[in-house]
């Protein structure tokens, strides 16, 4: 079912099964037939751990999305609300409960908070006078959701905003709890490294939780050797740049949600003889993207410029395989051919889809505007003209390009210049407010507080030093057969991943000076293991490092870490965890003041 989760070095199916069991246990607590009322946001993440059949086994007969007024009729004993702990959702639930028809047979209400019960929410239910109507009020700690064999996410969209803007540590607490769960399943992680204020706090919480966990000694042999906690605000640059890997571009252009992407349907129209042209589907084509699909696993992390050749090679192989049918003469041969047919059909379907997607993306990457934007990004990242008003940005504002695009570019310039000169900053702000509306003042202030768009302090620009020391800009990038992580941005090596790479070899001591220039403390902690569990490494056995991005990670960064995992003499394999899978656009969006 979720076989792709067990392909990696760490079998994440173990985690998936553990959370599935917890779900079953909860469902069984509410005996009898049930209907689930879903907070729509949760259906995506839940889809990664369970299908309807699992719920059905436990007598879930109906499912609805949470909406105001009265609940739809359902002849069931239990109504269960699956919701995030949000106040506005509590009001809707209260409305549902209050408008319940008293004449029809009474139904039991329950509420399952994901990932956490919230006293604030319960208070709200109490204020609305419905708290007493719920029999079970529980929490389902779906902190870390397995997305792929080497990837976990909390899918908490507001984590960055909460941590760096509102200084609310709740999502850090969840991260720490998620890490405790992982350790319960995969053993205590002996070494913890971290960089950044939030990283420090998560490590502190973990150490404290471990001390307070009075249960039995963890007797599982440790799977992870090292945990690296990284604050997103240590590297504000990377997500702002346009990702240039295949998966990264799909995300930039169409947005991947819970491993699904919605694509314009035209290119996917089923072309059957005789009926071409009619019945073009209008609904977006939805595809699941993960490493369960062989072809996708192969191309997802490649630079987009290297994808075309792989696809054409695959096409030849598949064509050849189908040609084999002419050679099949005997019954046995034909039988063998037929037995391979399903696999070949699947491969063909996969190839067809990715060829179409690649064409869609290519239409965009070959456009003049994409090229111009990329040129400006690359100028900034390599340190050219970051201290004056940029003509391209000015033009984009004049033509009223989407505001988020403007903000991404201006923030990128600011970060690559350790803040903008006051005059430049004021100019941009004025242009933006006059063109897009004064109310965006609030968004600009948020960006300033998060450190993304700010005036230069003390007139010093540290970025060139950081860039040179960490080799963030590589001139001779090889997109086809990469030899360095910089291929994921066609020249720029993501700072965050460089830190992970340097930690593995030769160690952070070599870059002390630069670490001091980046925000927040860097630290190392050790967790004692009982003597019997200490690892004796085999010759040539790779270490396993869990890199946890607090505040979000991009697909390009994931690709870069996978590249490091696969390096022949790399010596380290990486598993990636994060509060949210994101890109520059979704990130900036999360920092904008609503309603927009």
């Amino acid at each position: 079912m979720a076989a792709h989760l067990s392909y990696g070095r760490v079998n994440l199916n173990v985690l998936r099964e553990a959370v599935r069991r917890e779900l079953r246990e909860f469902l069984d607590k509410c005996a009898g037939s049930k209907a689930i009322v879903w907070d729509e946001y949760l259906t995506g993440p839940f889809g990664l751990i369970a299908q309807y059949s699992l719920l059905k086994e436990h007598e879930v007969e109906k499912m609805f999305t949470l909406k105001g007024s009265r609940l739809p009729p359902a002849d069931v004993k239990n109504i269960i609300f699956f919701v995030r702990p949000r106040l506005e959702l509590m009001d809707i639930i209260a409305e549902n409960v209050l408008s319940e028809d008293r004449r029809s047979p009474a139904r039991d209400f329950h509420i399952l908070f994901v990932p956490r019960r919230s006293l604030l929410c319960e208070q709200r239910l109490k204020d609305q006078g419905v708290l007493g109507s719920f029999i079970h009020r529980e929490e389902y700690s779906l902190d870390l959701i397995p997305f792929d064999g080497d990837l976990l996410s909390m899918e908490s969209e507001s984590a960055f905003k909460e941590c760096y803007l509102e200084n609310d540590q709740t999502s850090l607490y969840h991260a720490a709890k998620g890490l405790m769960t992982l350790q319960a399943l995969y053993g205590t992680i002996p070494q913890i490294f971290g960089k950044g204020e939030c990283a420090r706090q998560v490590a502190n919480m973990m150490i404290r939780m471990k001390r307070e966990f009075t249960g039995s000694q963890n007797s599982i042999f440790p799977v992870f050797d090292t945990l690296l906690l990284l604050d997103r605000n240590v590297d504000l640059l990377t997500p702002l740049a346009t990702q240039l890997t295949y998966e990264g571009l799909i995300d930039e252009i169409y947005g991947i949600q819970n491993s699904y992407v919605k694509l314009p349907p035209e290119k996917f129209a089923p072309k059957k003889q005789g009926e071409s042209g009619k019945d073009l589907p209008t609904e977006a084509k939805k595809l699941q993207l993960n490493s369960a699909e062989e072809l996708y696993a192969e191309i997802r992390d490649k630079n987009f410029n290297a994808v075309g050749s792989v696809l054409s090679k695959k096409a030849k192989i598949i064509s050849a395989a189908f040609e084999e049918r002419h050679n099949a003469k005997t019954v046995g041969e034909i039988k063998q051919f037929v037995s391979q047919l399903p696999h070949m059909q699947a491969a063909r379907g996969s190839l067809a889809n990715h060829t179409s997607i690649a064409e869609l993306i290519k239409d965009i990457t070959t456009s003049e505007d994409f090229f111009d934007k990329l040129t400006v990004e690359q100028e900034f990242m390599s340190g050219i003209d970051t201290d004056k008003v940029n003509n391209y940005i000015e033009d984009c504002i004049a033509q009223k390009h989407p505001l988020i695009k403007i903000l991404r570019l201006v923030c990128l310039q600011s970060v690559c210049n350790s803040g903008l000169k006051q005059k430049v900053l004021d100019y941009y702000k004025r242009e933006i407010l006059q063109t897009y509306g004064y109310e965006h003042m609030l968004t600009l202030n948020n960006l300033e507080q998060a450190g993304l768009l700010r005036p230069q302090m003390g007139g010093r620009n540290n970025y060139p030093t950081i860039r040179k020391t960490l080799r963030l800009w590589m001139d001779d990038v090889n997109e086809q057969n990469p030899n360095d992580i910089s291929y994921v941005y066609s020249g720029y090596a993501p700072l965050s991943v460089r830190l992970a790479q340097l930690l593995a070899r030769p160690g952070w001591r070599s870059i002390e000076e630069v670490l001091k220039m980046l925000p927040g403390p860097h630290f190392e902690e050790r967790q004692q293991l009982p003597a019997g569990l200490q690892k004796k490494r085999q010759q040539g056995e790779n270490r396993v490092t869990l890199v946890f991005f607090l505040g979000g990670v991009t697909y390009a960064e994931i690709a870069a870490l996978r590249f490091l995992s696969q390096m022949e003499d790399g010596g380290t394999e990486y598993v990636i965890a994060t509060t949210k899978l994101m890109n520059g656009t979704s990130w900036i969006e999360s920092l904008m003041e609503k309603p927009f």
Partner: protein, 479 residues
């Protein structure tokens, strides 16, 4: 772009950085085409029904996934289709280690079980649960036990913490476990039982708790207390911004305007203060224009509104949009009126560039080519006229083209583009043959002119013109 094409070229070759280019573009496209072709040809061999193979609905929702099932079960009478993984997993579970459970789970559920003997089903508003639930069984939890219980989401009375000292210790205990949920719970209790002054004073020295309170107040929308808090803490800019934010919730334009007016005196940073002032002035202006124009439009007496009815009201639109609007509907008005473009330009100190761009777009849309012409015509003191564009004529051409300007108009401005390469590019792109031909003639570039001859229609005026030039004996061709 200020860099000229030649410079750019040189820059690209000399510069050490590499742009994202498709090295051999054709090849790359070929490859995609190739795989496309292969895929298509294969369709004939293995036909159809692979949908069934994967069991995905067209929208890609795998059959049996949760979001798919919501639609299914909500619409049909009962559970419709079966998912595939039915029963497969049930048996394979025992091999996985269990998740660590908070020690409380058992007691909590047994607690509920005990309760369910008493039928708990009464819908709001009256809560008729046994009183015991709201009370602790043991009335004397220690400080850390209380926090622990809160952390596990258990019911727990905080009322026993009466003295300020007790309350503060409770808060500190909550803060040390970093659980925002618990911190908030304690803050709710403190907010209810302490006076504002004391609460603010104590939180001022407890920064983490303070941030949680701010977040909490924002969440529940207690704007008044939030403003009081900022005022107490002397965080004036935040105070001002958070007050200003309120305007977004006011729909009525008059009320919103009055509210913005009240924001003007707030302690913003210098730049923001100017923006808020402008925001107010703009809305005030828009209200006047809106009333006036709605009247004009409905009376049907003004040609421009008859020909181009307004698509939306101008209220709450950004400044540049308002300028566009005024250039569209009120271009010729004297400077003294509120709706005249020049008045807007002066009031809001709109830079020349921005103004010209907007006016150009508006007049081009109306195909008022004379206005466009006037926009770029300057007279010097001798009375000679000269064409000048603060945005560069290449931009002018782009905008005109976007508004479907006729070739005659386009070529007039393409001729004004200074850089020869840019000029040629634009002229070729927009098929202004005359400009291309003349430019090659001026460059004395015979080869290019011959090459261009193939691109124009056979026996056209252009071809004739090229032939004329090519046969001219006056020109000393460079090639």
């Amino acid at each position: 772009m200020s860099r000229t094409k030649v410079d750019e070229e040189e820059y690209w070759h000399s510069s050490k950085f590499k742009a994202f280019t498709f090295d051999d573009d054709d090849d790359e496209l070929c490859q995609l085409k190739e795989s496309k072709r292969a895929v298509n040809s294969l369709r004939d061999i293995v036909d159809d029904d692979d949908d069934d193979l994967e069991r995905v609905s067209w929208s890609g929702e795998p059959v049996g996934s949760i979001s798919w099932s919501i639609k299914e079960t909500a619409s049909s009478g009962g559970p419709a289709l079966e998912g595939r993984e039915q029963l497969k997993t049930r048996n394979s579970l025992s091999s996985y280690p269990p998740l660590p459970k908070p020690a409380s789970t058992y007691s909590l559920s047994s607690f509920f079980k005990a309760l369910s003997d008493v039928p708990p089903k009464n819908y709001a508003p009256e809560l008729r649960r046994p009183k015991g639930e709201y009370k602790d069984y043991s009335s004397d939890w220690s400080l850390s036990d209380t926090v622990r219980r809160l952390q596990k989401g258990k019911v727990c009375s905080l009322e026993r913490f009466r003295s300020l000292q007790d309350k503060l210790q409770l808060l500190e205990e909550a803060v040390t476990i970093h659980d925002g949920n618990v911190i908030t719970a304690v803050l709710i209790f403190l907010k209810r039982t302490l006076s504002k002054e004391i609460l603010f004073r104590e939180l001022e020295v407890r920064q983490i708790a303070l941030r949680h309170l701010i977040h909490f107040l924002k969440e529940i929308g207690d704007q008044k207390m939030l403003l009081d808090l900022f005022r107490y803490l002397d965080r004036t800019e935040e105070l001002a911004l958070s007050q200003y934010q309120e305007h977004l919730n006011i729909q009525d334009p008059e009320k919103r305007k009055e509210f913005l007016k009240s924001c003007i005196g707030l302690p913003f940073s210098v730049e923001d203060a100017a923006h808020v002032q402008d925001h107010y002035t703009l809305l005030e202006r828009q209200i006047i224009i809106e009333v006036n124009d709605r009247h004009l439009e409905s009376s049907g007496q003004t040609e421009i509104f008859r020909k181009h009815p307004r698509k939306a009201s101008i209220l709450n639109m950004p400044l540049v949009t308002t300028l566009f609007y005024s250039c569209f509907y009120h271009y010729t008005e004297p400077e003294g009126t509120f709706s005249s473009p020049i008045n807007l330009k002066k009031t809001f100190k709109i830079p020349d560039k921005q103004y010209v761009l907007t006016a150009l777009a508006a007049r081009a849309k109306l195909r008022a080519w004379q206005d466009v012409d006037a926009l770029f015509t300057t007279k010097n003191w001798l009375g000679y006229t000269k064409k000048r564009a603060p945005i560069g004529f290449h931009r002018v051409v782009e905008i005109l083209h976007k508004n479907n300007a006729p070739v005659q108009v386009l070529q007039e401005y393409i001729r004004l583009v200074e850089d020869v390469d840019t000029k040629l590019n634009l002229a070729t792109k927009f098929k202004c043959h005359d400009v291309v031909i003349e430019t090659y003639r001026d460059l004395k570039d015979r080869q290019q002119l011959i090459a261009y001859r193939c691109k124009v229609d056979k026996a056209s005026v252009e071809e004739e013109k090229i032939d004329g030039i090519l046969s001219s004996t006056q020109i000393r061709w460079k090639n």
